[in-house]
Subunit: 103 residues, 4 copies
DNA sequence: GTGGTCTAGACCACT
DNA sequence: GTGGTCTAGACCACA
């Protein structure tokens, strides 16, 4: 899936504000699973540099509360991002944006 | 983790019988997560050829009932096996042993 | 179809007890599809107030097991009840009796 | 430590009401560690029969929020109660009052 | 009746 | 107070 498709799925339209933290909007009527929408939003934020290398990103519980989804749904998004190398997760510390190869 | 370590964690000792289906024994006092024990048992079975290529393997619910664990725990084992290419999973059909490369 | 016809199709005869849960009796020799019999039984229960507004009703699996029918059969009954506005279904939570409009 | 001493440390004074849930009061100026105060409160409740055998008791998070202490603090109380055989803890299920030996 | 998604929690290991 | 494991269910998409 292209970055453009991801954007269309969950991001605010042109002209809307883009505050710093969890401004993710979920479309609960979409064909796309909620965890995938969260994953896409995070990928967009990371690729756009809004969560920079080494930065901590909001916790599972932050997302769970902000988006009113269960923690398991958030976890699936985070889990796949870790598998794909976009973030690292440290028990007891948090989730961090991975360094990019050859920036 | 070596195949030998996996075996030690969840498999019956020498001399014990090895019936066909879900003879997996979980050690609930182990440091090793239950889903990892299930994954190891499956890997052993696949590598030992007891679930052959193209074979269907028991369903999530079969494992869940046989081992008295929740379906989510079984799923994590199956999910990782799929990511690592050991099995394929078809919605509505089942889980199958992947073909090996250059056997 | 009138409530009376529905009743004749799947409900216990007069004088039989009417316990709380799935006392639905299917007539497998009937011209009427099984899913329709289930739907009728549910409509009767709802209209009779035995599943009140906001109440959760038994799950797909409950019906499937109790009646020894496939889940797809149960789903068709639930699906039509949702389309007709008699119930709402929340993923991961359950199926609930819809509020009536101006009773 | 006697039951009377425990009581003095964390329980409401005479004449105060004793509601059902987490009415534990911590004395943050006490020489006694917070985890010990929590442990004492729980022991009092169990011995007084307010959490009966087999009952589930409030979760780590319940205590942590109600008392505004870290979860590690609550855990230490629960941990010692488990070591001493007063409660059992089941992952994913909860914490339960242990049966007494020959009462 | 399978695998896929989701809920609403719990306890566990660690910082 | 984080991420990790687990429970015990639910409904959904598909065959």
């Amino acid at each position: 899936m292209s970055m453009r498709e991801r954007e269309a799925a969950v991001l605010p339209g042109k002209g809307e504000s883009m505050p710093d933290l969890i401004d993710c909007r979920l479309n609960r009527d979409s064909f796309m699973p909620l965890y995938q929408q969260i994953k896409n939003w995070l990928l967009y934020k990371i690729e756009a540099g809004q969560f920079a290398e080494g930065d901590g990103i909001p916790s599972e519980v932050d997302f769970s509360r902000s988006l009113d989804v269960s923690r398991a749904t958030v976890r699936q998004a985070f889990y796949e991002l870790r598998l794909e190398g976009h973030v690292t997760r440290d028990k007891g510390r948090g989730t961090f944006v991975s360094p990019r190869k050859q920036p």
